[in-house]
Subunit: 254 residues, 2 copies
Amino acid sequence: MLQVVIIGSGNVAQHLIKAFSNNAEVQLKQVFARQPKCLLHLLPADKITGSYNEIVNADIYIIAVSDDAISEVSAQLPFNNRLVVHTSGSAALEAISNQNRRGVFYPLQTFSKNKAVDFTTIPICIESEFDEDFSTLKNLGYTLTKNVYEINSAQRQALHIAAVFVNNFTNHLYSIGSNICKENAISFDILRPLISETADKINTLNPLEAQTGPAVRNDNNTIQRHLDKLNDENQKDIYTLLTKSIQKAHEQKL
Amino acid sequence: MLQVVIIGSGNVAQHLIKAFSNNAEVQLKQVFARQPKCLLHLLPADKITGSYNEIVNADIYIIAVSDDAISEVSAQLPFNNRLVVHTSGSAALEAISNQNRRGVFYPLQTFSKNKAVDFTTIPICIESEFDEDFSTLKNLGYTLTKNVYEINSAQRQALHIAAVFVNNFTNHLYSIGSNICKENAISFDILRPLISETADKINTLNPLEAQTGPAVRNDNNTIQRHLDKLNDENQKDIYTLLTKSIQKAHEQKL
């Protein structure tokens, strides 16, 4: 059974704590948190420590803290030559102090405090400094999901950028849609089926083929009417830039 | 039983033909198409006409043609004072020639030729020039879906703009994500669960609350790293504009 220690108490740490607590193949031995009280709703007090010196032995140490804190936290671990991984999409493997064997265990999903996630559908991207640790990380990944991918640091950074586009920026477009509805006394519920279908469609069509709307039709009358109606300059700028970008992408296709 | 004639042979027309052909409460009497052959895979030849003079009597005439053609097509109908509606999200009710009683029957969904849609989940936005026609349109809508909304022309135009943001622009962000994956030899499959979850999340959280990522965290190191890594100027511009827009939206929230 793989023995795991988690270091951190934020969103990703808490989702991993929940996932490993219910996992028959993993023993979650301990969690380190600067404020141990934050985790008492998830774990018994004797499994939480706030002191680096009390960290116990384990096969894998998972640092789930903000990117900027990875170096500092990893440098404070009072041991050497153990397998220490971070969970970041954008930090390099080298962000971890080289006193230990380094790796990455990056679950590619959007984690919110108030929404449970189903780990079995989440892709986990792994990378290891030493070949001998790769299978350990792979095994740990497979205890959570079928989707384990070997992704190097350069690929992982590209993937994180792609994730910003398809997740963060997409969610912001939902937010703009919601604001436009609110300003016009329209229920946002009307847009929900469209949002689901848009996400669903690219499972059968590639996104370039799936593109519809006035931009790809070069329907300049509609585009101009939309720009005339929008009175928020920021929304206008986004509308203009994305319309041009769609048109450019489809010119290149021809 | 409501008797319907559809005018048009494009995407929306074909999806409506399929939906009404399987509908026990509606009699699809005829379809007008400039090129009747285009519809022979959907209808028997005697139900298709290419001549305005052969159009039969019906309760509702649905013009499902491109926005620019609505005026011309509606002006050529060889009858008066019947209920004629268009299916456009952005054309005004007045785009229809005033020789007939005008209305709008706008199914808010993204229709692709190669993907079936489930009409029972699609919102239909209706509007009528005369009160007496409103219930006819409402009844027609309810034969397809539970989600029938009364939406006036100004609201419909706003809704169409909101739909461009949450559908057309979102799909384009998927396309950019897919390109970034391709350039880095990463399977786009890794992003699919994230895309689904992003769309699903806003059914339980509002989009402003659901926002995650470097922009909303004001994580300028990550933002700068991403911009340094992107080498497509257009992708850089989109990244910069949407990052600023997310930050503005969250400043306003505070």
